[in-house]
């Protein structure tokens, strides 16, 4: 079966309901590892950011990093979870060459945060996806299978990543299609970025996603047998993998087969999922409470302190933007995509005194320029204040919107403010009556025919005359004043 051909007819497809739950690993961006003091940086030479603890040396013991806990609590709060006063670390046992202890120190039946939700907005509909839990654990190292001269003979192990803090965020099986999954992941990523606990760069492995998928006949209560699609490395691939997997399962059932519980991998090359191991070969992780760590106790006081550092989150921010600035919900979504963009917008709106125009500029000219040069908003040569000033000039009528569009690229290339550019290039509007008088008189003298028409009652010809004045002033004349002057002289 190829992923491109529809495996089941649409009317058959419609009789099934997919059930999807997502497990997302997010690397927390603390400076040091979860159970030792080694740095967490990406890209250091292999096996340099290591110590006896993260190497799993005999006799070494883990000690929990306090800021990891604070990051995890923030994540839990952002996911609307209950943060447990007491959570327990548990060993998850399995053999792997890049897992030096032979177990991960994770959490099992008492995770740091649980019972939360993420609200998504798909196809003009709001939906709430439950978050079962968010628990802490240590990342494993990396097995490197190629790139060395004798890679055909050996696998190399780099343990720099070992002990990097992770939170695993497990959703309820509330997701019903790949669009919802995509929206959930987007929202989750945005939340984590907003609260600053992770950059969620998937290329650096800072966010990883596994999906549990099953299908059932519509109306059925019981879940179907699920397959787990592991390690899909982009949101787009998650969507494609889910679409394929749902089709595969329905087709399988329709042809009289049975879905087996197994772990599957997604191949971006073929667009298909394939079996990695069956349930019989599945790990028995033999979880038990980690005896080397005490239960994690988070007092109400500590929780309160962490809560007080929480920024306004995207859902609240969006609602406030609509309410406070009178912008559209869609625009509010765009302006809250990142914390930096929302902060930029609010600053620009404040300086400009015209939030809606500021919003248009941020989403329009600014976003275009950023995109063209592949820059982040934090790298914009035009600061929020300067963009705000530009918009303020329009609002005060000192420049036309058209002129502003000419000024903006100059601000972009020089980093200067609008006023400085206008002074330098002589772009200030001519609002001086005596200066305009002369130009208006000149235009009237040059266009006697139009003057006659106007006086004859065809007053619309004034537009032509204004245009001539603007042209003569090289666009710098204040159009409103020109209009008034012309009328005064003609009437």
């Amino acid at each position: 079966m190829s992923s491109t051909e529809l495996m089941v007819p649409a009317e058959v497809f419609a009789t099934y309901e997919p059930v999807i739950g997502l497990e997302v690993h997010v690397q927390l961006g603390t400076n040091t590892k979860i159970y030792c003091g080694c740095p967490t940086g990406f890209g250091a030479p292999p096996n340099t950011n290591v110590c006896p603890v993260c190497l799993g040396m005999p006799g070494a013991l883990p000690v929990l990093n306090r800021s990891v806990v604070e990051y995890a609590v923030k994540a839990g709060l952002a996911l609307n979870c209950t943060v447990r006063n007491e959570s327990i670390f548990a060993r998850k046992n399995y053999f792997y060459p890049d897992l030096p202890k032979g177990y991960q120190i994770s959490q099992y039946d008492r995770p740091v945060a649980e019972h939360g939700f993420i609200d998504i907005f798909v196809n003009e509909t709001h939906k709430r996806i439950g978050v079962t839990r968010a628990h802490l654990e240590d990342d494993a190292g990396k097995s490197i299978h190629d790139g060395y001269r004798d890679s055909d003979l050996y696998t190399y192990v780099d343990l720099n990543r070992t002990g990097t803090p992770l939170i695993e965020i497990v959703s309820e099986p509330d997701i019903r299609n790949s669009d919802e999954a995509y929206a959930y992941l987007t929202e989750l990523k945005q939340l984590m970025q907003f609260i600053g606990v992770s950059e969620c760069d998937m290329e650096k492995g800072q966010l990883r996603c596994d999906a549990n998928v099953s299908v059932r006949k519509r109306g059925a209560e019981k879940f179907g047998t699920k397959a787990e699609v592991k390690n899909v490395n982009s949101f787009r691939f998650v969507k494609l993998a889910l679409d394929y997997e749902i089709q595969r399962q329905i087709a399988l059932i329709e042809s009289g087969g049975k879905v087996v519980q197994e772990t599957r991998l997604y191949s971006p090359d073929t667009g298909e999922t394939y079996s990695m191991r069956s349930k019989e070969a599945a790990h028995d992780y033999r979880y038990f409470p980690e005896p080397d760590l005490l239960p994690l106790r988070i007092s109400d006081k500590w929780l309160g302190e962490i809560r007080s550092t929480m920024p306004e989150l995207p859902p609240a921010k969006r609602a406030r933007f609509v309410e406070q600035y009178g912008i559209r919900e869609y625009d509010a979504q765009v302006l809250t995509l990142t914390r930096e963009m929302s902060e930029y917008f609010e600053k620009a709106a404040e300086v400009s005194g015209d939030a809606r125009t500021a919003a248009n500029w941020v989403m329009g000219d600014l976003a275009g320029a950023l995109k063209a040069e592949g820059k982040e908003i934090t790298e914009s040569p035009v600061t929020a204040e300067k963009l705000g000033e530009l918009v303020a000039l329009i609002k005060k009528g000192e420049i036309s919107g058209k002129l502003a569009k000419e000024i903006f690229p100059k601000m972009w290339s020089t980093g200067d403010g609008a006023a400085a550019i206008m002074d330098r290039e002589g772009l200030r509007q001519i609002s001086d009556t005596s200066a305009l008088d002369a130009i208006v008189d000149e235009v009237l003298a040059k266009n006697p025919a139009q003057v006659e028409q106007y006086k004859g009652g065809k007053t619309t010809v004034i537009g032509f005359l204004v245009g001539q004045v603007m042209k003569a002033s090289r666009g710098q004349a204040n159009p409103q004043m020109v209009n008034e002057l012309l009328k005064k002289k003609l009437d």
Partner: protein
């Protein structure tokens, strides 16, 4: 200087009076250990270079008139499950035959900072699993009291070197009796402190919730002094206690009048043996010193062995997973696949007892069995703790035998693991409850085999425990009865 009889106090006095230097003590200990070791196999290696450097540092400090520490110039042996930077640490296992740790255990750092001189690494049962020291991949240790007999285990080497006089004090580790039982078999003092009293950082884990580092000495004071040096909070061990470390010497007043002693009836039932008689004579001696003795009950004792062997094997199966052939361990040469590498390395590297415990532990943690075994064992563990708490509401200390029998012959119980496990019956409860307990010499059988008396007190009550033990020792032990 009679190296075999030196005490910490004797060394301190001798150094002060310039009768000898720390280097001379060190050379004497190294020389004596080298000469005696073939008889007992108690040392796996002598760390002569490191010992000399430590001794010279002590002499240099003394020459400058500085305080050289509570253990200045004292020859110490360290059980080979405790890591020593740059000094091979095998855990008595083939698996780690070439493992040279890149760091020191906290206890090792602290004893050296206090002027202690590490003479060598003491033999032990593989990964501290055993009660006879016959499970060492490097050959059994023989009991210096009777070379045909075992020294006990798993800290057999640590007990033997102190009994033999090739070290003044030593560090052992205790998970189910591995300090007290060999101390009892070899006729020396062995202390298992409160869980958390001594940092486990650098103690190669067997069963993390039960593992303790503790001292051996030829007398109570020496053992207490070593404990005082290594005890206290360590930021590298999250389970180490914040409680301040008292000066144990001050507790040892010799006055135990009015101290309430409990004899748990479950520990004496059916103990009609020379060992039982000796312990009862010891109790008589304590009565003479003014202790009040009464019977108490620890009813959960009957489940202790099952509970212990579930918890310790479960934790061991996880702790020993890291020995996989990937890193510092040996690696089986003929493996063609990853699974083969694991299987062959672990098959060749571990001895029979380790494999037995790994399999038991893997089983009890397996899906579907966890609740029936591990969880239930944890509940029993709570009951055992509650028993002790109830008893300590009535008495200050408990007295029991350490072992049902004295040192047995090499090979005698080797083919009967269950009999070996049952020999831990009196010692494992203290570990399960995390309370301090110790073995203090309590006479010898007609055949001349030492017997130890176990003293147990409540959490962090090492002071009263030492007071009782030292008063008993001062009064001549069972001879005082």
């Amino acid at each position: 200087m009679d190296i075999a009889k030196l005490t910490i106090e004797g060394i301190r006095a001798g150094l002060k009076a310039k009768q000898f230097t720390a280097r001379e003590v060190c050379e004497a200990a190294l020389g004596f250990a080298g000469a005696e070791n073939p008889k007992t196999n108690a040392y796996l290696l002598l760390s002569a270079e490191r010992a000399r450097a430590a001794a010279d540092a002590v002499d240099a400090k003394l020459a400058r008139g500085e305080d050289a520490g509570a253990l200045a110039g004292v020859p110490v042996a360290v059980k080979d499950v405790i890591v020593t930077k740059g000094v091979r640490t095998t855990c008595g296992s083939r698996m780690l035959e070439n493992f040279v740790p890149p760091y020191d255990a906290t206890a090792v750092q602290r004893l050296e900072a206090a002027g202690g001189v590490i003479i060598g690494k003491a033999n032990c049962d593989e990964f501290a699993m055993g009660s006879s020291n016959e499970n060492s991949a490097y050959g059994p240790v023989r009991n210096p009291v009777d070379l045909e007999r075992v020294p006990g285990g798993s800290s057999g080497g640590s007990a033997a070197v102190v009994a033999q006089g090739t070290a003044v004090v030593s560090l052992g580790s205790d998970t189910g009796g591995s300090i007290r039982q060999p101390a009892s078999f070899c006729g020396v003092v062995g202390v298992t402190p409160t869980y958390g009293r001594v940092s486990r950082y650098g103690l190669v884990a067997f069963a993390s919730s039960l593992d303790h580092i503790g001292p051996f000495g030829r007398n109570v004071k020496d053992a207490a002094t070593l404990l005082e040096v290594i005890a206290g909070r360590d930021e590298m061990d999250a389970t180490s206690a914040f409680a301040p470390v008292p000066r144990y010497g001050e507790a040892m007043t010799g006055d135990v009048r009015g101290m309430k002693i409990g004899l748990p009836k479950e520990y004496f039932a059916g103990l009609a043996s020379e060992t039982g008689d000796l312990i009862m004579r010891g109790v008589e001696a304590l009565k003479k010193l003014g202790c009040e003795v009464r019977e108490v009950s620890l009813p959960a004792t009957e489940w202790a062995i099952s509970c212990y062997y579930i918890i310790c094997t479960a934790e061991a199966s996880s702790n020993l997973a890291r020995y996989d052939g990937v890193k510092y361990t040996m690696r089986s040469a003929d493996a063609k696949t990853l699974a083969d590498m694991y299987r062959n390395t672990r098959g060749d590297g571990f001895g029979a007892e380790c494999k037995r415990r790994i399999m038991l532990g893997t089983y009890v943690l397996s899906h579907g069995y966890y609740d029936a075994y591990y969880l239930k064992a944890q509940r029993v563990r709570s009951l055992i703790s509650q028993d002790f708490q109830k008893a300590f509401g009535e008495v200050d200390a408990l007295i029991t035998p350490v072992s049902p029998f004295p040192a047995f012959k090499l090979g005698e119980k080797l083919d009967d693991p269950l009999a070996m496990y049952l020999s831990d019956i009196y010692t494992i409860t203290g570990d399960l409850a995390g309370i301090p307990c110790m073995s203090v010499p309590c006479g010898a059988t007609a055949a001349g085999l030492p017997v130890g008396m176990q003293i147990l007190t409540n959490h962090f009550q090492e002071g009263p425990m030492f007071r009782l033990a030292e008063a008993f020792e001062r009064a001549g032990g069972v001879a005082g009865a």
